[in-house]
């Protein structure tokens, strides 16, 4: 049981980071980015290719994250501009449809060029016993990185000017503008951050199981579930929801079965929307 829960936490921390990237973009841009998972896959493919060219793992990872972040910026600066001119539901709907188009384009291009592409970061070393459970080194690395990035994000949003600017723009765009914050610049930054986070999760996932070129849609759905359960726009909520759903997911996979697990996760999202649309920690919507 401990092993299952620990595995759940490992998974959940990554779910959390994945959800944060989705929830930030929604909170700030009002866009549910359906091409989010494609950013993760893009990063994974860039890492796999640069690794194949003999680059060290750190450099390859950096290249992957940069590529995903750049992708986010390009989408924000070009395609989504007409979206930001709309308001309310029209805005979300058009954003949804355009990013869906982007998802298809990226998926199609990647599948066309690298039909069997997959990233698997093998991390050697003896399994380490934690709480009497032998944890694989890859899992520990993945959790360590997720925790560290989570902590950095938390500090960033609490203690830096840019982080506070982001939070104020999420809360009230007009107010943020009045105190001299440029919401468009903040938004571009958030798109870059979100792309990099997606890429990072793809990299940490690949330490325990391969990330294939077709995984984009699954990443997107997962991020959507986590973001919805945590409350759209809430960073802490996404993290909390990620860990909870991670534990639920491994426990139910262990005791009930894999396919029920997916349904449990989906049901969690549906129930959250129906019972408590603002999610665990979200603001009133």
């Amino acid at each position: 049981m401990t092993a299952v829960v620990l595995d759940g936490i490992v998974l959940g921390l990554q779910f959390g980071l994945l959800g944060v990237g989705m929830t930030l973009v929604y909170g700030l841009g009002g866009v549910l980015n359906l091409a989010y998972g494609q950013a993760a896959v893009l990063a994974a493919m860039v890492v796999a290719i640069t690794l194949g060219d003999g680059a060290p793992a750190l450099v390859a990872t950096a290249a992957g994250l940069l590529a995903a972040a750049a992708g986010g910026v390009v989408i924000d600066r070009t395609l989504l501009r007409p979206v930001y001119r709309l308001r309310g539901e029209h805005r979300v709907l058009l954003g949804l449809l355009l990013t869906l188009g982007v998802a298809f384009v990226v998926d199609g291009l990647l599948l066309w060029r690298y039909p069997t592409g997959a990233l698997r970061l093998a991390i050697g070393g003896e399994a380490v016993p934690i709480l009497g459970v032998r944890m694989r080194v890859g899992s520990l690395w993945a959790s360590g990185i997720s925790l560290a990035v989570g902590a950095v994000l938390w500090l960033f949003f609490r203690a830096t000017t840019l982080g506070r600017a982001v939070r104020s723009a999420i809360q009230d765009e007009v107010g943020a503008r009045l105190i001299g914050i440029n919401p468009a610049a903040v938004r571009t930054f958030i798109f870059a951050l979100s792309g990099a986070l997606a890429g990072l999760v793809a990299v940490t996932r690949s330490m325990t199981s391969p990330v294939s070129v077709t995984a984009g849609f699954d990443f997107t759905i997962l991020a959507l579930i986590v973001a919805v359960v945590g409350g759209l726009g809430s960073v802490a909520g996404a993290f909390l929801a990620g860990v909870l759903l991670g534990i639920i997911s491994t426990v139910s996979a262990f005791y009930i079965g894999q396919y029920i697990t997916t349904i449990v996760l989906l049901a969690a999202a549906a129930l959250t929307i129906v019972m408590r649309p603002r999610g665990l920690l979200g603001r009133q919507v």
Partner: protein
């Protein structure tokens, strides 16, 4: 969230069209339905010899039927049902399982399967309305339903055959002929379109237009928005369910991918957006154009996905209201010009 304060808010730029009133006279209201039926009835004369082409034509018609059902739900009342494939699959699998496992007669299986899809769709609509979920949350909830349904199909192996699918042995014999199947689905399309037109002309259509154009105003004017949304959910889901059920019987084989989200919903959404949301002929135009497009792009493999993606982007950025409204506007403009030229002494 709020838009940038200095940004112009353009209500017309929304990807949702504004529904025009249907013509008053019976002949003018229904002639497009009859013309569609007559034109599409000629297709087998042209392609009838080629079995593969007829198979494609039948599949295209089935997507047209899905698109009409989705048009009732999303196009008319703004409920983003991302479970078109799942509702059709519910109908399809239920019809096959009821006739194969429970040994019901085919007609009873079809009726029960349609009723099941109708009930589920209506329930989804009711929940969305009661909890006033809005477009996005309705979309997410119905998407989770879609994905759960797909997982159930994979998981309930002994009932659904899992990934390998079900062979429909008790299929209706005459439907094995593709031309017969084509005319059956064409008949369904004409009936669906006639139902859609009848709805548009009735008080239901009046309520649909009111709540779609401005929900709050409709509510204030005394339109029971919730009730009419659920009506749309029920009618559209019934169309999807029966289409899925009949398709399952005519296809001799169904699998989760037959009704998969990525296969059905995305395509139906793009087809309808291309043709024009909420318009009578939008689904037909979308169906024909995408059937032809598929044939042209058949050899492009993965690049087809890329082209689809680009098409979605261009469509929603450019033709926000679809082809049918754009063409109608253009014709109206021509007519007005012609009239003013006649009226004015030169």
């Amino acid at each position: 969230m709020t838009a940038e304060p200095d940004a112009p808010v353009d209500a017309d730029a929304a990807p949702l069209g504004v529904s025009a009133r249907p013509p008053r006279s019976l002949a003018r209201a229904y002639w497009p339905v009859a013309a569609t039926g007559a034109l599409l009835a000629l297709v087998p004369l042209w392609l009838g010899e080629e079995r593969l082409m007829m198979r494609l034509a039948v599949d295209a018609l089935v997507f047209g039927l899905y698109a009409v059902g989705f048009n009732v739900i999303f196009g008319s009342t703004n409920q983003l049902f991302l479970c078109v494939g799942a509702l059709a699959g519910l109908g399809g699998y239920a019809a096959v399982i009821l006739t194969e496992e429970a040994a019901l007669p085919m007609a009873a299986g079809l009726v029960l399967a349609t009723a099941l899809a109708t009930a589920v769709g209506g329930l989804l609509s009711w929940v969305a309305v009661r909890r006033s979920l809005g477009v996005i949350f309705t979309g997410i909830v119905t998407l989770t339903f879609s994905l759960s349904f797909a997982n159930l199909l994979l998981g309930q192996r002994e009932l659904t055959g899992g990934e390998t699918g079900l062979v429909v042995s008790a299929g209706a014999g005459f439907l094995e002929d593709r031309i017969a199947a084509y005319y059956l689905f064409l008949g369904m399309l004409v009936v669906f379109l006639a139902v859609f037109r009848a709805l548009q002309r009735s008080h239901v259509g009046w309520a649909f237009r009111a709540l779609r154009d401005n929900e709050l105003a409709a509510e204030l004017a005394g339109v029971d928005v919730a009730r009419y949304r659920v009506y749309a959910g029920l009618i559209g889901s019934a169309m999807l369910g029966i289409t899925g059920a009949v398709y399952a019987h005519s296809n001799e084989f169904i699998s989760p991918s037959t009704f998969a989200f990525g296969h059905v919903d995305v395509r139906v959404l793009v087809m309808l957006a291309f043709g024009g949301l909420g318009t009578l002929l939008g689904p037909v135009v979308g169906t024909v154009v995408f059937a032809v497009l598929d044939e042209i792009l058949v050899d492009t493999g993965q690049l087809r996905t890329v082209l689809y993606g680009l098409l979605i982007i261009v469509l929603f950025l450019g033709f926000k209201r679809g082809v049918v409204p754009a063409v109608t506007d253009f014709l109206h403009l021509l007519a007005r010009r012609a009239r003013s030229r006649v009226g004015r002494p030169s």
